[in-house]
């Protein structure tokens, strides 16, 4: 399941909803991304996350489908927020559930690495020196490349 929303999410409620009624699940891994107050050496006040409605949902869905092809997951969820966000705010949630922990851990890490490079989001940060669009970082591409491309572009 994937959701793109401006509103915050409740991690506990999401886990409960995702796993309700499935007693085959033996382990749940969650990753919660938070807005940091520093980008490199620059203090960040608030930031705004812009996205491409339609394509965002499509890309998150493809990434999730790829994870489910690779690992035996009983349930999975990606929630990504957009709009104005402040340091400390939750920005992204990945939950994976499987009979055994290894699949859940690996799939969660795969999803986080890939959604950072494949999902059409753009971050604009407001700091003491004004607003700026954040540049893409090669480190994220490297992290995603560990998994090799799920498909050719």
């Amino acid at each position: 399941m994937i959701r793109v929303q401006a509103d915050d999410f409740d991690v506990g409620a999401e886990i409960a909803a995702l796993t309700a009624g499935n007693t085959h699940i033996g382990g749940v891994v969650t990753f919660t991304g938070l807005v940091r107050d520093f980008a490199g050496n620059t203090a960040v006040g608030t930031m705004t996350l812009e996205h491409y409605p339609g394509m965002t949902e499509r890309m998150l869905g493809e990434i999730e489908a790829e994870a489910r092809r690779r690992w035996p997951l009983d349930a999975s969820l990606i929630v990504h927020r957009h709009g104005p966000l402040a340091p400390g705010d939750r920005i992204v949630l990945v939950i994976t559930a499987s009979a055994h922990r290894q699949a859940a851990f690996e799939a969660a890490e795969f999803l986080v690495d890939w959604l950072k490079t494949k999902a059409p989001f753009w971050k604009r940060e407001s700091g003491p020196r004004g607003d700026r669009w954040v540049d893409a970082r090669a480190a994220d591409d490297d992290a995603a490349a560990r998994w090799q491309a799920p498909r050719q572009e």
């Binding site: 996350l49 999902a119 753009w122 669009w133």
Partner: protein, 85 residues
């Protein structure tokens, strides 16, 4: 053809979306960028450095050589930077 712009491309062009009718010889993403860049000073600035412009055709990532046709939804944007912890 519907053309969408995101992030600083949107700011430079001055709109997030426009309906355009390029001539029939515009059949690729790169040709479309050349053609769009001539529409205004803002468009020219948006497309001045092609190395940092990414594209999608009908919501799928596209290369400069990929085809575009009337009725497509073509989007231009910088490399993505979302969701990074």
């Amino acid at each position: 053809m519907k053309v969408l712009y995101f992030a600083w491309l949107r700011e430079r062009v001055g709109t997030g979306e426009e309906e355009v009718s390029p001539p029939p010889e515009i059949t690729s993403v790169s040709a479309l960028m050349d053609w769009l860049a001539k529409r205004s000073a803002g468009h020219a600035r948006a497309f001045e450095n092609r190395d940092i412009v990414r594209a999608a055709v009908n919501q799928e990532f596209a290369d400069p050589a990929d085809a575009v046709s009337p009725g497509d939804e073509v989007a231009f944007f910088p490399p993505m930077t979302g969701g990074r912890p």
